[in-house]
């Protein structure tokens, strides 16, 4: 896994309190990791803070899986 993937995984584990093994690229935050809509808002904020990027609301709506987040951040973070 890339450095970005590791950092994303750590944030997801910390915020959602889930087992690290469950945080696979295909894992959907809501369906597989027990997040609710507010959790996903907070996750996006945590990604913004960690990677020093701004994730606009329309982009945030497309980030539904761990893989979506990694892909977005690989493309958009410095």
């Amino acid at each position: 896994m890339s450095d970005i993937a590791d950092r994303v995984k750590k944030i997801v584990v910390d915020h959602l309190g889930v087992e690290p093994e469950k945080v696979t690229p295909n894992a959907n935050f809501i369906d597989d990791l027990g997040a609710d809509s507010l959790d996903t808002v907070e996750l996006v904020m945590a990604f913004e803070e960690e990677f020093n990027v701004e994730i606009p609301d329309d982009a945030a709506e497309t980030i539904q899986t761990v893989g979506d987040a990694i892909k977005f951040l690989e493309k958009n973070s410095g």
């Binding site: 915020h15 959602l16 309190g17 507010l38 808002v41 907070e42 904020m45 913004e48 803070e49 701004e54």
Partner: protein
């Protein structure tokens, strides 16, 4: 109206993580006061408070993880965690865990708080100032607003009856219990979880209450001597934190399921001072009318009251006014014990009335009245026994608990031994 009884008790307080630990330490005469170590107090006028002993759960320490998942605690202010702990304990004690839709809908929650998530509001304000609005958490609002104590408890336990919250400063806990009892008496619910929760020990609250000249500032080097209701050297209250929650239940409902009945809520009175935002009215009339209303509702003579858990915060003005109001209520019937447990727990603001109602219930159960610590030299003479220093074995069939709050809001509860 239907009769209402107390069938479950739950508490987390500066004296410990449960009702039993708190009560035994209270009767032993222990104090929960200490210098605040959790944050810088060097520039604050009041540097002491009664904080909950945190720990792994052993020796009466409070382990919040027992009552709420760590990732959920992170989203809320501590008053909600304390409410979850006290509510969980109370339901366990009452052995009431409704699973049918009908039972869930018959069970409601009414837990209040005086100032709710003021600590988290302060933190978020700093974030807003330093980092801007995009860094405000989606959990900021639902983790700070006062009715989310009732909300979280209802979600955790599937309680679908009335879901309500009281915000009446230091009368909150008593109003919550009184109002919840009314909801049961009128048939809106058969069972109610009722009480108060507060987590005010932070720099902002200490600065704010000190600015009101409400806090003790003269005992920073002797914290355990600071809360001294009725004593001539008292100079303000000591802030406390925690929660108290009771299970209230319709009498026949409790009998039918064989529940343990601690006491009956026979009286509840409310009044307003209509005088000043922080000072009690100088004639003590608001307190007198509040107690009188509760006595009238209870259908008893004031001479039947055996124990009074006083509001008694250790402020220079309030204590004597309450005492005079009690003397006016009782007339010559002064064979009563009246103590302020705030001398040991500090003042839990919106949770005070709830934990003190629980102490009143336990005084009835154990026939013992808790002491008023530090009462070395009463500031006025009275025929009423203020229970200085040590608990007393006493006949207690009827207990009255007073709570008075900023804004001139008063509440009195009267509890009687169950027959």
């Amino acid at each position: 109206m239907r009769r209402v009884v107390v069938t479950g008790l739950g508490m987390v307080s500066p004296l410990g993580s449960s009702v039993d630990v708190t009560w035994s330490r209270l009767i032993e005469g222990q104090s929960g006061a200490a210098r605040v170590e959790a944050f810088d107090v060097s520039d604050l006028a009041c540097k002491i408070a009664c904080s909950i002993p945190l720990g792994d759960g052993s020796d009466g320490t409070f382990n919040p993880d027992r009552w709420m998942e760590a990732k959920e605690q992170r989203k809320v202010d501590p008053f909600i965690v304390y409410a979850m702990a006290a509510a969980g304990q109370a339901l366990d004690d009452a052995d009431w865990h409704p699973t049918s839709h009908e039972d869930q809908c018959a069970t409601g929650v009414l837990i209040g708080s005086g100032i709710g998530g003021i600590g988290g509001i302060y933190d978020a304000s700093v974030t807003l100032f330093e980092k801007g609005p995009r860094r405000i958490s989606p959990f900021f609002i639902p983790g700070r607003i006062i009715n989310l104590a009732s909300g979280q408890v209802s979600i955790a336990h599937g309680l679908k009856g009335p879901n309500h919250a009281v915000v009446t400063a230091c009368s909150t806990g008593a109003h919550a219990i009184g109002d919840a009892a009314r909801l049961i008496a009128l048939g809106d619910a058969d069972v109610m979880l009722a009480g108060g929760a507060e987590s005010p020990i932070n720099r902002l609250s200490l600065a704010g209450f000190a600015a009101c000249r409400a806090l003790s500032t003269g005992f920073n080097d002797e914290p355990q001597r600071a809360s001294r209701p009725y004593d001539r050297d008292r100079d303000g209250f000591v802030m406390g934190e925690g929660a108290g929650v009771v299970v209230l239940e319709e009498y026949e409902h409790a009998k039918a399921r064989g529940a343990k009945i601690y006491a009956e809520v026979i009286g509840y009175g409310l009044s307003g001072d209509a005088y000043h935002i922080t000072s009690p009215s100088p004639d003590g009339d608001g307190a007198y009318r509040c107690m009188s209303a509760a006595v009238k509702r209870a259908g008893i003579d004031p001479s039947e009251i055996d124990y009074i858990n006083a509001h008694g915060t250790s402020t220079p003005l309030g204590d004597e006014l309450e005492l005079k109001a009690v003397e006016r209520l009782l007339g010559n019937a002064t064979d009563v014990a009246m103590s302020s447990t705030k001398s040991a727990t500090g003042h839990l603001l919106g949770a005070a009335g709830a934990i003190e109602a629980i102490f009143s219930v336990l005084a009835i159960r154990d026939q013992v009245v808790p002491p008023t610590l530090n009462l070395d030299n009463p500031s006025v003479e009275t025929a009423i026994d203020l229970v200085p220093h040590e608990a007393q074995k006493r006949k207690v069939d009827v207990a009255l608990s007073n709570s008075f709050g900023f804004g001139g809001t008063n509440a009195s509860l009267i509890l009687r031994r169950a027959d």
